[in-house]
Symmetry: none
Subunit: 221 residues, 4 copies
C-alpha cells in the first residue's frame, strides 16, 4: 500500500477524527443510504466561502442536504443554450431527479464575491483585475441592485444590503426555470432565502410577505 | 419579529443544535475570521451529493475549506469565452484570491452523475430524458473514458472505474488553466485526487506516480 | 372518431363530471406533474374495497398518494425468489425509486377479505369454496391471529380485532424487507397503521407505543 | 385519547376536509353499504401512480369501484400454483364474489413502470439496478411488445405505444383465467381498456374492433 506523503496532513488528521468520533454514530446511515440511494428533502444553494458550510450551520447528518456551492451562492437565469451550466445542472438534478421539497438560497456576511462586485463596479477600468471568470460570474449580481430595500436599516450597510438583494435576485432567477415556477405554483416545491452572519452566527430568514430579512423569534437564542 | 412558519423545521432544529453544541467552541473562530477574512489553505472540488460533504468527512472547522460543489465534482477545461462559468470562477477565486495551497478533487461512490452518464450513453435516443442541463454537464465526462485504467481490479466495477477516471480527467482539466499549471510547476500549488466510499466511509487517494487509487497506510483503520 | 357504446356509462358520466368540476382546479397539477414526474411523499397500502378509497378519505390531490391496493391491504413477507410479486414491487418502487417518507397501512371495517379468512378457518373442509387465489392470499393473515390484543374492548368484536391485527402483521411483514427496516432505523422512513370505519367514517390510528388503535384527539369531529 | 404526532399531517388535514365537505353528502352511502355490504358494478385494474387515481378520474362515490392497483396496472396470466398472487386474488374476489359486470384495465401516460421496462431492456447488464421486485414484475411486459400496433401514429411515441400494448396484453392475460373467459362468452362480464393522459387529462378508450385507442366522441371536450 502506498503512503500519501503529500496529501494535506490537516485533512488526513480530520479524516481520522471523523472515523473515530462521527462515523460510529453515522455508519448505518452511510451504509443504508449507499444501498438505497440518497433521499435528501432539502437542497441548498450556498457560497464556496470556508466559513459558511451548510452542513455545519444546520448540523446536518449525511444524506440530509443536497448542496451546490459557488462564489456568492448565485444561480444564473434559465439559459437552455446547450452550454455547460454546472449550477443549473445541480438545480435540475436536485429538483427533478431527487425531488427535494425545499430549495434554500443561503448567502452570508462578508461575502468576497459581493465585496468584489461592489469594488469592481466602482473601480477605474484599469484596476478591474485579471480574474476574468470571477468578474463575469459576479456580473450576475447587477440586476440585484434594483432589489435593495429602501429601508435605512438595510441601506446603512451597503455590503449587507447587496448580500440580501443577491439572495432575492437568485430566487427570482430560480423562478425563470419553468419547472421550478410550475412546481412552486402547485405547492410541490418551496423556495427560501437565508443569510448567515459569519461574525455572530445569527441566521436571518427571508420573510416572503415583506421581502425583509429578520431573525425569527423561534430561533433566537 | 416575524416567525418562520414555512422554513424547513429540520433545518431550524439543526441550527439550534449548532448554536448550542458547536458554536460555543467555534465562536472566536467565526468572529476573528469575520474581521480578518477567510484564509483557507485547501480548496475542495466536491459533488453536490448529500452523502459527501467535505466538512463532515474531513472534520473541518469553519474557515478551513473553500468548497465548490456541483454534480459529479467536475471542472470544465479552461474556456475564457466571457460566459458565466461558476465552477471556473470558484477555482479562480480560491487559487488566485485566497491563494490556497492544495486543491483536492474529491469524487465518491454511487455517484448519481456518473450513473446517469453511463445510463445515458447506452440508452436509446428517445429515452435520454428531459434533463438537459444535467445531460450537457455530465457530457464533460466523455474524455474521461480514455482514462480508465486497464487493470482488472478497476474495470470489474464499471461505475467505480468511471468515478476514478472522472477525477483524473478533472485534474487534467484543471491543468488547462494556465495559472494553475504555472503555480503547480513552481511548487506553489498541489493538485490531489480523492474518492470517498459512501458505503464504508473509506477514503481512497490518487497516487500521483502510479495513477491508481488506494487506501494509504497511514489512514487505514 | 369511434364511439364507446359499451364502456360503462356511469364511468363516462363520472369522467365528464371530473372534467367539468375537478379538472379546472387541478389541470396545472396534472400538467406539471406530467412534465416533472410524480413526487408523492406518502405511500398507502390499502384494500381494494370500493368503500375505502384513500384519495377520497384523505381528500388527496393528484400526485399526493402512491397507492397499492389488494384484498385486505396485505403485504407478504420479503421473499426474493424471482417470482412475480406485485405488491412487493409496488413497495419497492414507492420506497426506493420515489423515496416516499411515510408508508401507511390502511385497513377498514367489514373487510371481505378478513370475513373470508375467519369464515374459511371455521368452515368444514368441503365448504372452503372454489376461490383459490383469494384463499391462498388471505392465508397471509394466519400469523396475525397472534397479534390480537388481549383487550376485552378489542376481542369483543372478533372481525375488527382481526382487522387491527392484520394491520400490525402487515407492518411486521414490511419490516422483513431489509431496506425498509434499514431506512426506518435511520429515520428516513416512517411506518404507520390506520383503520377506517366504513360505517361511521371514523379514522383510527395505530399508537406505536401501546400498539392500540384509537381515534386521536386532534382529528375527532 | 392519544395524539397522533407523527402521522403525516397532510393526511390528517385531508381527512378533516373529507369529514367537513364530502362526508355529509355520503354518510348514508357509507352507513347502508356498511350494513348491506359493498356492491360495486365495476372493477378497475389501475396503476399505483399518484396521478392516476380511478376514484378521482371517474368522480366515483364510495362503493362504486372495486380497485386493484399495482406498478403499471398489470395482471399475470392465470397461474394456479398455490403461491400468493395478490392481483389474481383481487380479480377473483371482484369477479366471482362481488360479481362485477365490467372489468376495466386502465393504464396512463408517463408510466414509470413502462419507462423502467424500456430502460432496463436496453441497459447494459451491470446497470440494471438493484430493484429486483420491480424488475421481475415489469418483465410481465415482455410479451406486450408483440402487441404494438404497426401504426406510424402509435409507434412514433415509443413509451405510449408500449403503454397501449401493455393494456392489450393485460386484457389477454385476464382471458387466461377460465372463469373470466367463460363469463365474457356468455355476456355476463365485459373487459375494457382505457388510458389516461396524465398531462392533458384526456381519456382514451380501447376500440375492441380495431384494437386502437381513441378519444371517443361522446366524451370529447
Amino acid at each position: 500500500m502506498a503512503k500519501a506523503p503529500d496529501f494535506p496532513s490537516r485533512l488526513l488528521r480530520g479524516y481520522s477524527t471523523f472515523r473515530e468520533q462521527r462515523l460510529p454514530q453515522e455508519s448505518s446511515r452511510y451504509k443504508v443510504l449507499a444501498e438505497t440511494g440518497q433521499r435528501p428533502r432539502t437542497m441548498i444553494v450556498g457560497c464556496s466561502d470556508s466559513r459558511a458550510a451548510p452542513e455545519t450551520i444546520f448540523d446536518a447528518a449525511p444524506g440530509e442536504l443536497f448542496v451546490v456551492r459557488n462564489v456568492a451562492a448565485l444561480v444564473p437565469p434559465f439559459t437552455p443554450d446547450g452550454e455547460h451550466h454546472g449550477t443549473s445542472a445541480a438545480i435540475e438534478f436536485g429538483v427533478l431527479s431527487l425531488k427535494v421539497r425545499d430549495l434554500v438560497v443561503m448567502g452570508h456576511g462578508r461575502c468576497g464575491g459581493i465585496t468584489g462586485y461592489l469594488a469592481a463596479r466602482d473601480a477605474p477600468p484599469d484596476l478591474k483585475g485579471h480574474t476574468d471568470f470571477v468578474g463575469k460570474w459576479i456580473s450576475l449580481l447587477k440586476p440585484a441592485e434594483a432589489l435593495i430595500c429602501e429601508d435605512p436599516a438595510e441601506t446603512a450597510d451597503r455590503q449587507r444590503a447587496m448580500e440580501f438583494a443577491s439572495i432575492r435576485q437568485t430566487i427570482a432567477n430560480l423562478r425563470t426555470f419553468p419547472w421550478i415556477r410550475s412546481l412552486e405554483e402547485i405547492g410541490e416545491l418551496e423556495l427560501h432565502g437565508a443569510w448567515f452572519d459569519i461574525s455572530t452566527a445569527e441566521l436571518y430568514l427571508l420573510d416572503k410577505e415583506t421581502g425583509r430579512f429578520t431573525v425569527p423569534e423561534e430561533i433566537e437564542v
